[in-house]
């Protein structure tokens, strides 16, 4: 300890940030445990399971008994019966996907399907029931088909989710970690006090950025390890590429945090600005579902959001094993954001 003051200011500023961080147990908890809880909860909620049996209801009337019996012979259907009113209620409540009515008024037997065509489950139920009834009536399939079941790691929802959560952690950690810390130091007049010393401004900024990268590493390792052992999520690409993206992402979001905090004088103001910056990315950048679901005309905007290329490149590496060259376009967007935000932030930064 006796000679530690000989250390470089960047090291000292980094150590100060690091100590402040680890001496706030609640901050550590939220940074490291929250993404983990989120991953486990979502991983369990959306785990891939064989499709459940389909609930349908047969409306009482002539021929209903016979119809219900023939449907019960299919293992993929759960069949109940009721009056027209009960049927409608069950359909509305989502307890049944489809109402099946036997039609006997014509000379030939027929069936009527009542369902909501915008409900994917109902459409599926209609096809399954139709299939069962047609075969029972003696339909012969002209072409022979075979089903092969696969469950390939890398194609499940959890495999899609983990890169998204890593990206979300990079964004939240950078924007909150840097933005909040800087405004807090400004309010406490610590930034102004530093300005009264020979401290070099780039040293301060470098230490903020460097500390962000270091804090990120344990978070990413924990998420990767837990997803590996709990859900079997495998990184199909190189860990070097994952690391590269994490370092670049941490740099990019530290820059965004710095820019957001560059002039804000109160914690309320900076919180508002941070949410303003992050909400579009939470929704649009494909953390939980593919950004490709948005209409074509917003795609260019979504692609240029700071988080989109991070998540997209992480997915390409982890799910598809993409190499560095394949993710160069994303890297270019990330690096541009990082450099631009730092440059603007340093220019407009308010030290007091």
């Amino acid at each position: 300890m006796s000679s530690s003051w000989k250390m470089h200011p960047v090291t000292q500023l980094f150590l100060a940030r690091f100590r402040e961080f680890i001496r706030q147990p609640e901050a550590v908890f939220w940074s490291y445990v929250f993404p983990l809880v989120m991953m486990i909860a979502l991983g369990l909620a959306f785990r891939s399971e064989p499709m459940e049996a389909i609930s349908i209801i047969v409306q009482d009337g002539d021929g209903a008994e016979l119809l219900a019996d023939s449907l019960r012979s299919s293992k993929s259907l759960i069949v109940s019966s009721g009056t027209e009113l009960q049927c409608r209620q069950q359909l509305r409540a989502g307890q049944s996907e489809l109402i099946v009515v036997a039609e006997t008024d014509n000379s030939a037997a027929g069936y009527r399907f009542v369902f909501d065509p915008t409900r994917p489950g109902s459409v599926h139920a209609r096809d399954v029931v139709n299939d069962v009834l047609q075969r029972a009536a003696g339909r012969q399939d002209p072409v022979k088909t075979t089903d092969v079941a696969i469950a390939e790691p890398g194609s499940r929802y959890i495999d899609f989710l983990v890169p998204g959560l890593i990206g979300m952690g990079l964004m939240g950690g950078g924007v909150w970690g840097v933005g909040y810390a800087i405004v807090d130091m400004r309010i406490r007049q610590v930034l102004k006090r530093f300005m009264g010393t020979p401290m070099k401004k780039p040293h301060f900024v470098a230490a903020m950025m460097f500390s962000r990268m270091i804090f990120m590493i344990p978070e990413i390792i924990v998420v990767l390890l837990v997803s590996r052992f709990l859900f079997g999520v495998i990184n199909h690409g190189s860990y070097l590429n994952v690391m590269l993206l994490i370092v670049l992402g941490a740099f990019e979001f530290a820059g965004i945090g710095l820019l957001i905090a560059s002039r804000a004088k109160t914690l309320e103001a900076v919180s508002g600005l941070m949410n303003l910056a992050m909400v579009p990315m939470w929704i649009g950048s494909g953390i939980f579902f593919s950004a490709k679901r948005f209409p074509e005309f917003v795609q260019p905007v979504i692609g240029l959001l700071p988080l989109t290329p991070v998540i997209s490149a992480l997915r390409q590496v982890m799910q598809e094993g993409a190499g560095t060259v394949a993710i160069l376009p994303e890297i270019a967007v990330i690096a541009t954001w990082g450099v631009l935000t730092f440059a603007v932030a340093i220019r407009i930064f308010r030290w007091e």
Binding site: L15, M195, G196, P198, M199
Partner: protein, 319 residues
């Protein structure tokens, strides 16, 4: 040898609606090895002036030279040689005293050991305590230690003892005195007159962005022409109707005024003025309810020059 600080016609106008003229033409010369006090009420322009000298605020016009160097061209060199303590800095509560000083030490090319700085402010037993665990006086000493750790030749202290208990104030006075005795120069602001009289070789009295008077505390007081103050209160039917300058016409009385409930007469010779005062009170059928005398202080100097009391909140600001 050049001056420690030299300000020429400094002005600072803060933009706003309406703009605030915080400093309106200040000339200041601080000689090396002295302790210079800037006195005045809140809003008098003390902090703005000291922050211009510290290089934290850019003057609207005028020049400020520190240790013979210009902020415009030699800012980095100046910062290596000065130590500052702002009016209000809340250092990180999560860091220990030693860690805080180690951090500040790393900013300077040369300086003392962090441990040495801690010893200078007598906080050795708190070296490994977090700032959070320190009292207000101890925190202020840490703030002064961060100013000392770069081994400055010039120390800026903005209201170093405001809000501190008497013991903590004396602790800081000792630290400042030791620094000065070792050859350092100190510029401090205060609104405590006793602090200025005790510590400062020279004081400048500020009000409304201007300097009203600069001299040694003793000279400023003796220049009043009245080194004693008679403080009294009267009661009686006609007491409320008395003018504020009741007693001004008495022999040996230089000035008369009201300070809160008391009436004050600045007098040259108390032994002449007091009997005359008692006679006057009798003639008016008033009753004397209290009477004391004291030595004139810088407070009286301030009142004499500014025409209002130092402790009047915001009275010094330009509105």
């Amino acid at each position: 040898m050049s001056l420690a600080i030299e300000c020429r016609q400094l002005t600072k106008t803060w933009p706003g609606n309406p703009p605030v003229e915080a400093v309106r033409g200040v000339d200041l010369q601080v000689e090396r090895g002295t302790c210079f006090g800037v006195l005045g009420p809140n809003g008098a322009g003390k902090t703005t002036t000291i922050e211009i000298c510290e290089g934290l605020v850019r003057a609207t016009s005028g020049d400020a030279f520190v240790l013979g160097k210009s902020w415009a061209t030699q800012a980095d060199e100046i910062r290596q040689e000065i130590g500052i303590s702002l009016q209000e800095t809340r250092l990180s509560e999560k860091l220990t005293v030693l860690e805080t000083l180690t951090l500040f030490r790393s900013f300077y090319r040369s300086g003392m050991n962090p441990e040495e700085a801690i010893a200078k402010v007598s906080l050795q037993e708190k070296a490994n305590a977090r700032i959070k665990a320190l009292s207000g006086g101890q925190r202020q000493r840490v703030a002064v230690a961060t100013a000392l750790v770069g081994n400055p030749r010039l120390l800026f202290l903005d209201e170093p003892t405001t809000g501190l208990d008497p013991q903590s104030r004396r602790d800081l006075w000792r630290i400042i005195t030791e620094f000065r005795e070792a050859g350092g120069t100190v510029l401090l602001t205060t609104h405590y007159m006793d602090e200025a009289e005790r510590l400062c070789d020279k004081v400048a009295i500020f009000d409304r962005g201007r300097i009203l008077a600069i001299d040694t505390p003793q000279k400023l007081i003796s220049d009043l022409g009245a080194e004693h103050v008679v403080v009294f209160t009267v009661s009686g039917e006609s007491a409320a109707a008395l003018s504020d300058d009741f007693g001004i016409s008495l022999p040996g009385v230089i000035s008369a005024r009201i300070e809160s409930e008391h009436r004050c007469l600045s007098v040259r010779e108390p032994h002449v003025a007091i009997p005359a005062l008692l006679t006057l009170i009798n003639e008016r059928s008033l009753r004397l309810t209290s009477l004391t005398t004291r030595q004139a202080t810088l407070e009286d100097v301030f009142v004499h020059h500014a025409g209002h009391r130092l402790t009047d909140e915001n009275s010094g600001a330009v509105r």
